[in-house]
């Protein structure tokens, strides 16, 4: 039996109303559990509340009802507990690659020299050797995402939240990054939650996929991806995967029609 590192217990959440024109996503009695070392993707149409789930986990928002357990504990202030990698790389343009990477360590109060040592050990693996003194504006899109990922890893948390990290990359870079990410995940034994709107990406990367829906009722379904690891892109053409992909796309499209 694997250990749960993240549990949502009957979580209900909605943004304070007041803005009636723009309908905010709602989470109602959401219940799920993510185990140590799992790779779970969350898919759903835009406005289905994917990012809201991340905001709840990071502690930027508080559930109205229900509880969230991180590594078995429910805290009133959850900020600083997980590694979060946002959709845009959100690197500070005035900081070099090195200074961007050490940011989470700096905030934790680690001495600068120690932080730099720690980052230096990882630069090679992240394909960032030799660019540590460059500024983000000098980097390619894929490199920026790697810096951003490195920064989330350095949060030191066992749980990483990745919010559509590859959506802005071209197809080939994206595939490379996906394979690289799987390699890193296997090596670092982290638990990853991954938001995407790309069904194939979710199938290729994850153990399980959560599907978030707003219509007819706010709900969360889940499917297990029928693939073993290590995986290959060609696995995506297997019959059972193709059928699942069809189902998932149908479900997403249903919501878009509304």
């Amino acid at each position: 039996m694997s250990r749960a590192v993240l549990t949502f217990q009957d979580v209900t959440f909605h943004y304070p109303s007041g803005n009636l024109i723009h309908k905010h996503p709602i989470l109602e009695d959401i219940h799920f559990q993510v185990n140590a070392g799992e790779f779970v993707s969350i898919i759903g149409a835009s406005g289905s509340g994917k990012s809201t789930i991340f905001r709840l986990i990071t502690g930027l928002e508080q559930p109205i009802e229900g509880k969230i357990y991180l590594n078995g504990k429910s805290m009133s202030n959850q900020l600083g507990q997980v590694g979060y990698m946002p959709q845009q790389d959100l690197l500070m343009p005035w900081r070099t690659v090195m200074d961007n990477a050490i940011l989470p360590l700096e905030i934790k109060g680690v001495k600068k020299a120690e932080a730099i040592d720690e980052v230096r050990k990882l630069l090679g693996e992240f394909g960032l050797e030799g660019v540590e003194d460059a500024f983000p504006s000098d980097l390619s899109g894929g490199m920026k995402q790697r810096v951003s990922f490195l920064r989330s890893v350095l949060s030191g948390s066992n749980i990483l939240l990745l919010d559509e990290p590859f959506s802005a990359l071209d197809a080939i870079t994206r595939l490379n990054m996906q394979e690289w990410l799987l390699g890193q995940w296997e090596k670092r034994r982290k638990t990853i939650l991954f938001i995407t709107h790309d069904v194939e990406e979710a199938l290729f990367l994850s153990d399980r996929i959560f599907i978030l829906e707003q219509e007819p009722n706010p709900s969360l379904k889940e499917v297990h991806v029928p693939l073993r690891r290590p995986r290959n892109v060609r696995d995506l053409t297997r019959t059972e995967v193709v059928i699942m992909r069809g189902h998932l796309i149908d479900q997403l499209r249903l919501k878009v029609k509304k």
């Binding site: 990071t58 502690g59 930027l60 900020l79 600083g80 507990q81 997980v82 979060y84 946002p86 845009q88 959100l90 500070m92 343009p93 005035w94 900081r95 940011l103 989470p104 700096e106 905030i107 934790k108 500024f135 504006s137 000098d138 949060s155």
Partner: protein, 246 residues
């Protein structure tokens, strides 16, 4: 240097035109020739550089320092609280519609011929660009970046020093560049109205003596001071904003 070749040529052209015109007109108390001004500057170099320039510089430096304190402080304050922003921002804008030159004699009345009447004029002219640019810079810090820092467990203090301040720097420097050039004007106006030393004071005194070249010589010096200060700020800016130079 190639960058300045066009503006330099234009200035030279104008100077030559001026020189020729002034020689033909030949009334140096109204229109002194550039060469007259340079000669005058040379002639008066001792008194101008050792006595009047330091007096003016002191006003500018004190004025700018006070403006930085008030402007920076107000900007940080207004960025912290909406109430303070709503209270002060309109007042600061309105304060700029007051013709400071018209008010300046009052300051002489209040502060006498001491350095402070001149400093007040300089502060009133220079604090505005510093306040507004710093405030706008602070306000423009990225909300998503701020949230990301919070998810790392950052404190408000971290956000201020690691996000707000670096975000505000480019805008702050733009304001400071405007302020240093304005400080020349502020100091000169202040001295015009009542002083016992300073380049502005000296220029006005020469006016009463119908010494055209003597009016212009300290003004030339003032302009050189303004440009030097501007370049000085630009070089500090380049140092702090290395990432923008790429």
């Amino acid at each position: 240097m190639k960058h300045y070749i066009f503006s330099t040529s234009l200035v030279l052209l104008i100077l030559i035109g001026w020189e020729v015109g002034a020689q033909i007109y030949n009334k140096s108390y109204i229109l002194p020739a550039p060469t007259d001004i340079l000669l005058k500057l040379w002639e008066l170099k001792g008194i101008l550089l050792l006595e009047h320039l330091p007096a003016t510089l002191l006003i500018m430096v004190i004025g700018l320092a006070i403006s930085l304190l008030i402007g920076g402080g107000l900007a940080i304050w207004m960025n912290k609280s909406q109430l303070l922003e709503k209270t002060f921002y309109p007042i600061i804008i309105t304060s700029q519609t007051i013709p400071i030159i018209a008010l300046a004699p009052i300051f002489v009345l209040w502060f006498g011929y001491s350095i402070w009447s001149k400093v007040v004029v300089t502060v009133l002219i220079t604090f505005f660009p510093i306040t507004v640019s710093t405030f706008d810079g602070l306000r423009s810090s990225d909300k998503d970046m701020k949230e990301l820092l919070f998810t790392m467990g950052a404190s408000k203090r971290d956000i201020f020093f690691k996000l707000d301040i670096p975000t505000a720097l480019p805008s702050f420097f733009s304001g400071l560049k405007v302020a240093v050039t304005l400080s020349v004007i502020g100091a000169a106006i202040g001295e015009w109205l009542g002083a016992q030393a300073g380049l502005g004071y000296f220029s006005r005194r020469m006016m009463t003596q119908f010494d055209g070249a003597g009016v212009f010589a300290p003004i030339l010096l003032l302009s050189i001071v303004g440009v030097s200060l501007f370049l000085f700020v630009t070089s500090i800016e380049k140092y702090f904003l290395k990432w923008r130079n790429r």
